[in-house]
């Protein structure tokens, strides 16, 4: 069974204090690993898809990386508007196109 474990559950950073979120996964055959951002009261918003080990993608202060067992979401010099829950999900070849989500990391960035 596919499993996605995110750590830490919650993270509090000072503005400008860089850090990383972890997503460990086990999946029968990985089609893609996805990162989403979810703000309170809203639906998840797509950030990145990574398809193979060694791949990296960047968007503003966020950078996602992938190995065969885990993915990291690096946040460089975060701002308060980066506060949100970050969700990691795997898409397996035998699951259609459904995403199997982890429980998320709740990030709070204080001024």
């Amino acid at each position: 069974e596919d499993q996605v474990t995110q750590s830490p559950e919650a993270l509090r950073l000072q503005e400008g204090e860089s850090s990383s979120l972890n997503c460990s996964y086990t999946v029968s055959g990985l089609r893609g690993l996805f990162w989403y951002r979810q703000d309170p009261g809203k639906g998840p918003e797509f950030l990145f898809t990574l398809y193979s080990a060694g791949e990296e993608k960047e968007k503003e202060r966020l950078k996602a990386t992938l190995t065969k067992k885990e993915s990291f979401l690096h946040i460089t010099a975060p701002k308060p508007e980066d506060s949100a829950t970050y969700l990691c999900a795997v898409q397996a070849w035998d699951s259609g196109y459904a995403l199997n989500f982890g429980k998320g990391t709740s990030l709070l960035v204080t001024p």
Partner: protein, 115 residues
């Protein structure tokens, strides 16, 4: 120009009632999904439909019945509501071609409260 829209956004009802949540997407996607997000914010797949055909039906009580009248719509009907059904239900869709292929686009969610 909302991509995935769900109605209603909030739903408060009594135990034992029957209710429906509607979902529509205007992205031209051929696959639609229902997810449930519980009080601990865990998002879990319930159903997946591709071109009106049921693809995934996770371990969900048969009180939940999805209906897809066409590719752009996937509605969720819930019979005999129970307290444990209280959650936020998200509709999503994805396409298989073009930019963003296989990326799920989510609606804003429908918060169901069963009293």
């Amino acid at each position: 120009d909302t991509a995935v829209s769900q109605t209603p956004k909030y739903l408060v009802t009594q135990m034992g009632n029957d209710k429906s949540i509607k979902c529509e997407q205007n992205l031209g996607h051929d696959t639609m999904y229902w997810y449930k997000q519980d009080s601990k914010k865990f998002l879990k797949i319930m159903f997946s439909y591709n071109n009106k055909e049921l693809i995934i039906n996770e371990t969900v009580p048969n009180r939940f019945s999805p209906k897809s009248p066409d590719k752009a719509h996937l509605n969720l009907h819930i019979n005999s509501l129970e307290l444990g059904d209280s959650a936020v239900y998200f509709c999503a869709s994805s396409g298989r071609a073009g930019p963003g292929a296989n990326v799920l686009t989510f609606g804003a969610g429908s918060r169901l409260t069963v009293l």
